[in-house]
């Protein structure tokens, strides 16, 4: 509401520009929604219609066959060994478990860095917290994997305490939801988000509370927290979608199918389907049994798209839920 004056809108120049802006925005929405539309439409097509050229923009015979198929395949088959609901619950456990630990810990640190630390100490702490954003995740993949096995030893087997036959005590998170949750507890980007927000809270408010004799924790809980709901909502949304959508990492650290998240289940399914064309000759001999099962079930792009939609829905819901906070919660003012 600021670029266009409120008065004089019916002057031809402004009117044309305004129409143009609205048109551009609507066109962008149109473009953005194409993939969504395409997914929904594809999920309602029958298998032969999917490969048709030219592609049909509206399904000729809309059918929920693919949806039914996905839910059938997902019950008691060897491809998806658990019911879809089990994977869904696992995903929820991981996502909300991460949030439950990460939001307090990250926001505490950001608060301390923003309001309790001063000068050089604050600067170094800040760099310590955000420095890892520059590291490609691929570099630390293997060491981190080893650490889920025997923290703090980045080796597969734990050494003995010197002079004894007893192994060093270690923390094992591998093959539990903790292996997904723990490495994500501190989120550098959320730290920035929180710090940006806390920086905008006037120091005088904190000072006043301090004069009143509240402990720092009480100040945080009674004064800062209620003011910061929006930034918590934003951080929660970002982290939720990150954890929900990650598959590489849970794929590696969760071996028990009963503990696998939905993303892994879906990724496996897609991978089995797609890799029928991307493996070397000998590999296709080996994976054949799996593919056979899928093909017999009639799974094609329509079924995959259904899975994609299922995977998107929770992120989508989180977005809708937190949409009103999104604009209020981001107060980040650069890498200060």
């Amino acid at each position: 509401m600021s670029l266009f004056p409120k008065v004089g809108r019916n002057q031809p120049g402004l009117r044309v520009t305004w129409t143009l802006v609205v048109a551009v925005l609507c066109f962008g929405i149109f473009l953005h929604l194409i993939p969504f539309y395409f997914m929904i439409v594809t999920s309602l097509k029958s298998a032969p219609e999917i490969m048709r050229i030219p592609p049909t923009l509206i399904p000729e015979n809309p059918t929920f066959a693919a949806w039914q198929l996905v839910f059938q395949v997902s019950v008691g088959s060897t491809i998806l060994r658990q019911p879809l609901s089990q994977y869904f619950l696992n995903s929820c456990l991981m996502a909300f478990g991460t949030l439950a630990l990460s939001l307090p810990i990250t926001s505490f640190a950001a608060y301390a860095n923003s309001k309790l630390q001063r000068g050089r100490g604050a600067r170094w702490t800040f760099l310590f917290f955000i420095g890892t954003l520059m590291v490609p995740a691929a570099v630390t993949l293997i060491p981190t994997f080893l650490l889920t096995r025997n923290f703090p030893f980045p080796v597969p087997t734990v050494p003995n305490i010197p002079g004894t036959e007893i192994e060093f005590p270690v923390i094992r998170t591998w093959n539990t939801a903790w292996a997904v949750i723990i490495p994500g507890v501190f989120s550098a980007f959320n730290f920035l988000l929180f710090k940006g927000f806390f920086d905008t809270i006037p120091n005088s408010i904190i000072q006043a509370a301090r004069v009143d004799g509240g402990s720092e924790f009480n100040i945080f809980r009674r004064i800062v927290l209620p003011m910061s709901i929006p930034v918590f909502a934003v951080a929660a949304y970002l982290q939720f979608s990150g954890v929900w959508d990650s598959f590489m990492w849970p794929l590696l650290v969760i071996q028990d199918s009963a503990r696998s998240p939905m993303s892994v289940a879906i990724y496996n399914l897609i991978n089995v389907f797609m890799s029928s064309g991307t493996m070397r000759p000998q590999a296709s001999l080996a994976t054949n049994e799996q593919i056979r099962q899928l093909q017999e079930a009639g799974l094609s792009w329509n079924g995959l798209v259904v899975l994609g939609i299922l995977q998107t829905i929770p992120i989508f819901i989180m977005f809708i839920v937190s949409r009103n906070y999104l604009l209020k919660g981001v107060k980040i003012r650069g890498l200060k």
Binding site: P5, K6, V7, G8, R9, N10, Q11, L14
Partner: protein, 374 residues
């Protein structure tokens, strides 16, 4: 030659509230009109309607012959100083001043530099041209805003409470700066403030607004001595006018205002205007400066123009003193100002004060209109 004509201006906001209600006035070429009123009275909205920052719901705004209702702000060629100055923090002082010149184009580089320097000199910020607003004090920022307004030749100048963010000392200087700007440009100017003394000091004429309505417009003297209604009477003048509830009663050809604790005889010249109101309740307004110690009064003090009260407190003022009194019966407080200093020994004593009946104000209780000037 430009004048601002405002006719039947109405502004209804999206939420249905009426911000400006059928306001009409005009500002002549070279005239400085101050728009006053309590906060939320619609004065800033009126200004923004004139600037074109808000669209009018109905009515008409004309600059000279030009109807500007549907013309966007930048084409109205107005200059405006904002309450928060709206000095762009990422631009230097000189860039800020030159902003309008650059935006409008048609100026050579030398021309721009010359105008910037001239405007900056005028407001004594020529040494700060390279600085960013962050490095300036509030007063300096305000002068940057003024310089920006003066650098360009606008047809109309608008000020939106430009002094409200300054402390008292700076305000006086700033008023002079604004006057200087006006003297130089001599364009119709609308100045919004909630401070009536500021309005009095600056405006050729003052428009008083309340709840979206224009209550009265006139010179400061007009509004002070001939307020059209209770609100204007009360709003203009410090300390405020003293008000008493009373009745108009007739005794033969004489008409009295009977307020219970005192009863005054109204001058015969009023009869024509108030005759119809006899027997009805009224409010009697007496300005503090129109009450005099009997000895000093420039008129005869009699039973028919005296109010008696106990002096509670004396406060010295720049021009004399302010006395806070209350009536003996009924305990009604009132204020009087004197050009002399009253000795403190009067405190607690009952003193009579003579009322200058020529300057008394009478208001209808229902309509609040002045019976004499409404």
């Amino acid at each position: 030659m430009t004048e601002i004509f405002v006719r039947q201006l109405l502004k209804r906001f999206d939420n249905g509230k009426i911000g400006v209600n059928e306001v009409s006035f005009e500002v002549n070429d070279g005239e400085f009109v101050a728009l006053v009123g309590p906060s939320g009275c619609g004065k800033t909205t009126t200004l923004r309607l004139i600037a074109g920052l808000e669209p009018a719901t109905s009515g008409e705004i004309r600059f000279g012959d030009r109807r500007v209702n549907d013309i966007r702000p930048r084409d109205r060629n107005v200059a405006m100083v904002f309450q928060d100055y709206a000095v762009f923090p990422h631009l230097t002082v000189s860039e800020n001043i030159a902003y309008g010149l650059r935006a409008r184009g048609g100026y050579t580089r030398e021309d721009i530099n010359g105008r910037v320097l001239k405007a900056a000199k005028m407001f004594r910020i020529d040494s700060l041209l390279k600085r960013k607003p962050r490095q300036l004090s509030g007063g300096e920022r305000q002068r940057v805003a003024l310089a920006r307004a003066v650098a360009r030749d606008a047809d109309v100048y608008l000020f939106d409470e430009p002094l409200s963010n300054l402390d008292a000392q700076l305000r006086h200087q700033a008023r002079e700066d604004i006057m200087m700007l006006h003297e130089q440009k001599r364009k119709p100017t609308v100045y919004v403030t909630h401070d009536q003394s500021e309005a009095m000091a600056l405006g050729n004429r003052i428009a008083v607004m309340r709840a979206g309505k224009l209550e009265q417009i006139g010179t400061g003297q007009d509004l002070y001595s001939r307020p059209a209604n209770l609100f204007v009477a009360f709003f203009i003048g410090a300390p405020s006018i003293n008000l008493f509830d009373g009745m108009l009663i007739a005794d033969g050809t004489s008409i009295y205002a009977d307020c219970g604790v005192f009863k005054v005889l109204l001058p015969g010249s009023f009869t024509q205007k108030i005759g119809a109101h006899v027997g009805k309740p009224i409010k009697v307004g007496i300005r503090p400066e129109d009450m005099h110690v009997p000895k000093q009064a420039p008129f005869d003090v009699t039973e028919d123009n005296t109010i008696k009260g106990i002096l509670n407190e004396i406060e010295p003022s720049a021009t004399g003193s302010i006395a806070y009194l209350s009536t003996v019966e009924g305990d009604r407080d009132y204020v009087a100002t004197f050009r002399i200093r009253l000795p403190a020994s009067y405190i607690g004593k009952e003193i009579p004060l003579g009322i200058n009946m020529e300057k008394i104000h009478l208001f209808d209780v229902e309509s609040e209109r002045s019976l004499l000037y409404g």
